[in-house]
Subunit: 146 residues, 2 copies
């Protein structure tokens, strides 16, 4: 009930959470960004119950973040792929991962790094920038009604 | 129980969700980034019950995202401020807000924009970049074990 009410609010954070904010949803999407597409692989990698996984996948498909497509043209068997809407969560994930790496490992080295495929270099910390490329901090911006 | 188990996993997404992933937590943090500091204002702006708000604020303080500080030096009354750890969620919020603005308003104009305080210009879309500034897409990166 809380969720329904907030979903009607004109807040993109609330609306986004309504789509991807359930406990398993972000971890399912994390798997998608790592190339997981098949139900069995999601289940094995996440250790989530089949019922919960079925429900979360169905919701992500319904809300447009994932699509269920044939594993190859004409095949009956289907797997799950990110839609364009889903792919655009990439930057949210990288930003959240970088924050988690920095703040949730008690100063220890995090176990993984996001690197460029072509040269193996770690990506830069994600930052908010002006359209001409200056890095902006929270105090440099505010929210205005349109 | 699910949360406890995932919290022990070496995944920064799971660990971050364990800290900020509860339904009200992100909305409380959204308020913090808009300058809300007082319990009564959180309650009024979010329409959340006092019990839930008390529990969420206590958790965010315990996990280091918020701090409870005197409203002025020496004052008994306290309010809530973002810690450095909390402030660094800023980019996650802006990225999530931009995604929500683009994908959850059915093509309609979202109600607010994040703009620069100094000149009123909308900030750029947040992007993943290489250390030398190139924009990177999901296919350009992968995750490596450290």
């Amino acid at each position: 009930m809380k969720r329904t009410r907030l979903n009607r609010l004109p807040c993109p954070i609330a609306r986004s959470m309504d789509i991807i904010g359930e406990w398993w949803s972000l971890l399912i999407l994390r798997e998608c960004f790592s190339g997981t597409t098949r139900f069995d692989d999601f289940q094995k990698n996440l250790g989530v119950s089949k019922n919960t996984l079925t429900a979360r996948l169905a919701k992500l498909v319904k809300r447009g973040v994932l699509k269920r497509v044939p594993v190859e043209p004409g095949a009956k068997r289907r797997h799950y792929k990110l839609t364009e809407m889903g792919k655009e969560l990439y930057v949210v994930f990288v930003a959240l991962r970088q924050w988690g790496d920095k703040w949730t490992f008690d100063g220890k080295m995090p176990p993984h790094a996001v690197v460029e495929r072509s040269n193996g270099r770690a990506v830069a910390p994600v930052e908010v920038r002006s359209t001409d490329g200056r890095v902006l901090k929270p105090r440099d911006t505010w929210l205005v009604a349109l």
